[in-house]
């Protein structure tokens, strides 16, 4: 069973309207504020939820690869500003996540309820590996056991658990206007 359609079958996307942009900006601000002020207090199994990453995936699934990549870039930049961290690293990772999550939504043929969970799971895996590699390149200590046991696995569990409710919230907020799977079926 093929779950990927050729790229030429992907529905053409138009630029978001002013109203959609306003709604996306609200999602962006809420995600960054949740990530920087609430998430640090929601520790579970040693990990924290990544609201920003989940928001990028949700927007990419609903709005497509281009909007997903741009949303990821802005989320990464704003998160870095809010935490006074170096520009670029989060943006780089979130652009990749946003783009490929969007491409997945544009081309995949999986049940709608399963897609956010799978995408957030894979996005968390990719993002954490990329962040760990960046730390290694910056000559910081990256113990493998710590990374796997205290970072990666708990993050995968936490983020995947939050994926479905947050996806429903974001979809409701964005009014499902860009649900590519629904559009593709129609």
């Amino acid at each position: 069973m093929s779950i990927i359609r050729p790229m030429k079958d992907a529905p053409e996307r138009s630029l978001p309207s002013g109203s959609e942009i306003a709604r996306l900006v609200v999602v962006l601000l809420v995600a960054v504020l949740l990530q920087t002020t609430v998430a640090p207090h929601l520790r579970l199994l040693g990990a924290y939820p990544d609201f920003a990453l989940i928001a990028v995936v949700c927007v990419a699934l609903l709005k497509g690869s281009e909007t997903g990549a741009l949303f990821g870039f802005l989320t990464g930049i704003l998160t870095a500003i809010a935490l006074m961290e170096p520009f670029g690293l989060s943006a780089f990772v979130f652009v990749l996540v946003g783009y490929f999550a969007g491409r997945y939504a544009e081309t995949a043929d999986l049940p709608a309820g399963f897609a956010p969970l799978l995408t957030v799971f894979v996005a968390t895996l990719v993002a954490n590996v990329l962040f760990a590699m960046a730390q290694f390149l910056l000559a910081r200590e990256v113990p493998l056991g710590f990374f796997l046991g205290r970072v990666l696995v708990p993050s995968l569990v936490f983020n995947t658990l939050l994926a479905a409710p947050l996806y429903l919230l974001v979809r409701a907020w964005l009014r499902g206007a860009g649900d590519l799977r629904a559009a593709a079926r129609a």
Binding site: T36, H41, A80, L89, Q135
Partner: protein, 266 residues
């Protein structure tokens, strides 16, 4: 293109000085975002407290056991402590060490609230809502009611980034309290990626015991004033082949619940 832009920004950020374009843009945007963060932190505090309460409930059972043991140890040490305290007070008066345990006169305390925290496992930083307009400067020490929190690493007009003691790039001049006749054992407290805190570079001939306090030494050139409590010695490991002891320190500060802090500015 966005990927290239991200890499270019990352490169520019690391290459430029603190007054560079990327840092300036970050500062300008943060001036707008910081009040939003502060408002969100305040509005969500009841929910965060509720979450922490649930978490505390689960750990209460195991803590109860260790606390009972600790109470027994404290009772046993109380009589000895009273004697030591009396002697200590006299010695302090004689050697005029009393002043070493209050902040110097030229110090000002700036009260601030933690408005954001990094959730990355690789960084232990916090953002506070006090910046250069309140007199906060890079390298200023940050404390709360429990002890040393960290030091300021970046400053904006209305916000500052604090590198927590638990970060793997945090290094603090420290000493063991109380000392013995030869003085206080000195070393450097450093964090780690796992969040564990250790006291390093303590000569293996120094006698360090579990339960002793670790405080800032305030040596010449140190960014920290003397006597800020850091933590308590949790374990001491010494190997014959090593020049220094490996001392695990349990910080006094509960870094999960950071809220109100004070910046020691000079």
């Amino acid at each position: 293109m966005l990927l290239l832009l991200s890499v270019a920004l990352l490169t520019a950020y690391f290459r430029e000085s603190d007054s560079g374009v990327a840092h300036s843009v970050q500062g300008a945007v943060l001036t707008v975002v910081s009040p939003l963060q502060s408002g969100t932190a305040t509005a969500t505090k009841p929910f965060r407290d509720a979450w922490n309460w649930v978490g505390d409930l689960f750990s209460a059972k195991s803590q109860n056991k260790s606390l009972k043991k600790e109470v027994q140890q404290l009772r046993a040490g109380l009589a000895n402590e009273l004697t030591t305290q009396s002697e200590n007070d006299q010695l302090r008066a004689m050697l005029q060490f009393q002043k070493d345990h209050v902040f110097p006169k030229d110090v000002t305390l700036v009260t601030a609230r933690v408005v954001a925290r990094s959730t990355s496992a690789w960084y232990s930083t916090a953002t506070i809502n006090a910046g250069s307009s309140a007199g906060v400067k890079v390298y200023d020490a940050v404390v709360n009611g429990q002890g040393l929190v960290g030091r300021v690493t970046k400053v904006n007009l209305n916000a500052a980034q604090v590198l927590l003691v638990t970060d793997q790039q945090s290094f603090v001049d420290a000493m063991i309290e109380p000392g013995d006749a030869t003085g206080n054992a000195q070393g450097i407290v450093s964090g780690s990626v796992t969040g564990d805190v250790t006291l390093e570079y303590v000569d293996k001939n120094e006698k360090v015991k579990v339960g002793q306090y670790v405080v800032t030494s305030g040596r010449n050139g140190s960014v920290f004033v003397r006597g800020i409590p850091i933590g308590v010695v949790e374990s001491v490991g010494a190997q014959e082949v090593e020049l220094y002891q490996s001392i695990a320190v349990k910080p006094f500060v509960d870094f999960r619940k950071l809220d109100i802090v004070q910046v020691i500015t000079r």
